[in-house]
C-alpha cells in the first residue's frame, strides 16, 4: 500500500493523517509468515528396532511428534471483507483460524489484529455438564459482557438458537447440530470486529443456515471482517468475495472467490 504523492503541505496539515480514501480500506488482520507446529504424543509408527519397541512398550513411553501444520502463510485482510478459506481436510484451515483467534500460538512469524478476533467453531465446546441457559450466560460473560448486558441479550440468543425446551437441559444431551446452533447464537450475539467462522454453517437445517448467513453479513456490514472456513464451495461463493486456498499448510492462491474456487476445482478433479 503506497502513499500517494502528496502536494506541498502547510505545517498544520502535516500533523493530520492522510485522507482515509487515499489509504484504501483499513487492514484489520495482517498475517506475516505464520508457522504453526503441533506436538502430538502418539505411539505412532512401530519402532524399527524390535528391542527398543519392547522397551517403549514396557515403560509406555510416548514419542513426541512434530506436525508442521502451517508453513509460512502471509496475507492482509481489510475492513468489510468476507474471506473464504478452502482446502482439503487437514490442510491447515482450522489451524489458521485458531491462530488468528489467538487460541493457538504461532511458532514463527506474526499475526497483527485490530481487536480480539472471535472464533465460532463446531468443535468449540462450552461446558457440557451445564444447561444451555447457564452456558448462554457464561458464554456472554466469557466474551467480556457484563451480567446486565447478558440479561439484555439472553432472549435474543435463545430465540436465535431455536432449540426450544432443550435450553434447560445439560449441553451433553444435545445433538451435534443443537450444540453448534447454541454456540453460534452465543458468539454471534456480540458485535465482533473480526469474526472467524469454522464450518458453523454446515450444521443446522436450511432455516438456521439462512438465518446464520444473514447474521454473518450483518456482522460484516458492521464494519467487521469475517473469515469463513467451509467445504461447501457454494456457501463460500455466495458469502465471500475473496478466498484463500490452503494446501498442506501453504497458501496456494489468494484472490477473488470465483477464480480461486475454479482453480481449486481444477486441481481436485
Amino acid at each position: 500500500m503506497s502513499e500517494p504523492a502528496s502536494p506541498p503541505v502547510t505545517d498544520t496539515a502535516a500533523l493530520l493523517p492522510p485522507p482515509v480514501a487515499a489509504r484504501g480500506p483499513r487492514p484489520t488482520v495482517i498475517v506475516d509468515d505464520l508457522h504453526v507446529n503441533y506436538t502430538v504424543y502418539a505411539t505412532g509408527r512401530p519402532a524399527k528396532n524390535e528391542s527398543t519397541k519392547l522397551l517403549r512398550r514396557a515403560v509406555n513411553m510416548r514419542r513426541a511428534r512434530k506436525i508442521h501444520a502451517l508453513k509460512g502463510i502471509s496475507f492482509t485482510a481489510h475492513q468489510g471483507e468476507a474471506i473464504g478459506v478452502i482446502g482439503r481436510n487437514g490442510s491447515g484451515k482450522s489451524t489458521l483460524l485458531r491462530a488468528i483467534a489467538g487460541l493457538t500460538p504461532a511458532d514463527q512469524g506474526a499475526i497483527y489484529a485490530d481487536s480480539d478476533p472471535t472464533l465460532l467453531g463446531v468443535n468449540a465446546a462450552l461446558i457440557n455438564e451445564l444447561s444451555g441457559e447457564r452456558n448462554v450466560v457464561l458464554g456472554g460473560l466469557a466474551m467480556g459482557l457484563t451480567p446486565d448486558q447478558v440479561r439484555e441479550k439472553y432472549d435474543d440468543i435463545v430465540d436465535f438458537a431455536g432449540i426450544g425446551e432443550f435450553i434447560e437441559l445439560p449441553m451433553r444431551t444435545y445433538s451435534a447440530g443443537m450444540g453448534a446452533r447454541l454456540r453460534f447464537a452465543i458468539a454471534a450475539s456480540a458485535t465482533h470486529r473480526i469474526l472467524l467462522v469454522d464450518e458453523a454453517l454446515a450444521v443446522g437445517d436450511a432455516d438456521f443456515q439462512r438465518r446464520s448467513e444473514r447474521r454473518i453479513s450483518e456482522l460484516r456490514d458492521a464494519a467487521g471482517t469475517v473469515f469463513l472456513v467451509s467445504h461447501s464451495l457454494k456457501v463460500i461463493q455466495d458469502t465471500c468475495q475473496r478466498t484463500l486456498w490452503i494446501d498442506a499448510g501453504i497458501l496456494r492462491l489468494d484472490g477473488p472467490s470465483a477464480e480461486v474456487i475454479a482453480a481449486y476445482n481444477a486441481s481436485v478433479r
Binding site: 492482509t76 481489510h78 468449540a124 457464561l138 466469557a142 484472490g255
Partner: protein, 304 residues
C-alpha cells in the same frame, strides 16, 4: 443467497506479495497489535478484572453442577469431609496414645480435616484447571488466570457450609461462642491467597509435565500427615531443642493455617503472633510468585 461486498483494494496479492518488513510496517502504521504476545503484567491484571463476572459465574455454575447428580446434592460437600474426619478419628483415636492428641480432639480433628480439604481441593483441581478446560480455552479468548481463580472461588463456596458445620461441632464439644471467631476471616483470607498461588503453580506445572497429576495424590497424602491434623506438635523436647517434626510443622503453611483457624475456634489453642506472621508471609509470597509464574506462560496455554 449472494452478498455483495465492496471491492477491496487488493488485486492479486499472490503476485506482489509484500515482504516481511512491509507487513510489520503496515501493522505498525495502522496500530494493529501483535497477537499472542503475552500482555504486560499490568494489562493482564486489567484484563482479568474485566472478566471478573465470568470468573465468579464459572465458579458458581461449577459449584452447583458438581453435586447435582447425587441424591443428597450439596450436602455431600459437608458429609464427605465429616465422614473422612470420623474415619481418621476412629483409627487414630484407637492407635495413638491420648497424650499425643489435642485437648479437644474432636473439634481439632474436624478443623484440621476441613481446612486441609480446602487446600487439597485447590491443589488437585487447580492442577487440572488448564488441562481440564481445553474446550473453553480452544474456543474463547480470555486471560487464562480466570481458570485457576475460578477453581479456588469454587472451593471457597464449598468452604462456607463446611465452616458452619465446623462451628456446630465446636459448640457441641463444649467450645463457647466468642468474638475471636472473627479471626476466621483474616485467617481464611490469607489461606485463600496461599491456595490461589498453589493452584496457579500447579496449573502451569501440569502444562509442562502431564504426569504431575499422577503424583498429586501422594503429595497431598504427605502434606496431610505432616500437618498435625490428628496429633499435636511434639514441641520442645527435654533438652530444650526442637524435634524435626516440630520444625516441619512450624513452617508447613497448611499447618500454619490450620493453627490459625483452631486458634479462632478452640479455647486454649490460641495462635501466637509468630504464626500470624508466617500466615501473612506464605499467603502474600505464594500468591505473587504463583501469579507471575502462571502469567509468564500465558501464551503457551492452548497449545496442547
Amino acid at each position: 443467497m449472494s452478498v455483495v461486498v465492496p471491492a477491496p483494494s487488493h488485486g492479486h496479492p499472490r503476485d506482489d506479495r509484500p515482504s516481511h518488513d512491509d507487513l510489520a510496517a503496515l501493522a505498525a502504521e495502522h496500530g494493529l497489535p501483535k497477537l499472542g504476545s503475552r500482555p504486560a503484567l499490568t494489562d493482564y491484571v486489567r484484563q482479568l478484572w474485566g472478566r471478573r463476572f465470568f470468573c465468579f459465574g464459572l465458579a458458581r455454575a461449577r459449584f452447583r453442577s458438581q453435586n447435582e447428580q447425587d441424591r443428597l446434592g450439596i450436602a455431600w460437600i459437608v458429609l464427605r469431609p465429616l465422614i473422612n474426619a470420623a474415619v481418621y478419628g476412629f483409627i487414630f483415636g484407637l492407635l495413638l496414645p491420648k497424650s499425643s492428641r489435642q485437648d479437644n480432639f474432636v473439634a481439632s480433628l474436624v478443623v484440621g480435616v476441613f481446612i486441609f480439604q480446602f487446600f487439597a481441593a485447590c491443589l488437585t483441581d487447580g492442577a487440572k484447571s488448564i488441562t481440564g478446560n481445553s474446550g473453553l480455552i480452544k474456543s474463547l479468548h480470555f486471560p487464562r488466570a480466570v481458570l485457576p481463580f475460578a477453581t479456588v472461588i469454587e472451593q471457597v463456596l464449598a468452604l462456607v457450609p463446611m465452616l458452619v458445620v465446623m462451628l456446630v461441632v465446636a459448640l457441641a464439644t463444649g467450645e463457647p461462642v466468642r468474638l475471636k471467631w472473627l479471626e476466621l476471616v483474616p485467617a481464611l483470607a490469607l489461606m485463600t491467597l496461599f491456595c490461589t498461588g498453589i493452584a496457579m503453580i500447579a496449573a502451569r506445572l501440569t502444562i509442562h509435565i502431564r504426569d504431575i497429576t499422577q503424583l498429586i495424590p501422594f503429595l497431598t497424602r504427605l502434606v496431610f500427615y505432616l500437618s498435625g491434623i490428628f496429633y499435636k506438635s511434639p514441641g520442645a523436647d527435654a533438652k530444650g531443642g526442637q524435634s524435626v517434626l516440630a520444625t516441619v510443622l512450624e513452617f508447613n503453611p497448611v499447618h500454619v493455617y490450620i493453627s490459625l483457624v483452631r486458634g479462632a475456634v478452640i479455647v486454649g489453642e490460641a495462635a501466637p503472633a509468630h504464626t500470624w506472621r508466617l500466615g501473612i508471609g506464605f499467603g502474600v509470597v505464594f500468591f505473587l510468585v504463583g501469579f507471575v509464574y502462571f502469567w509468564r506462560a500465558e501464551e503457551r496455554y492452548g497449545r496442547e
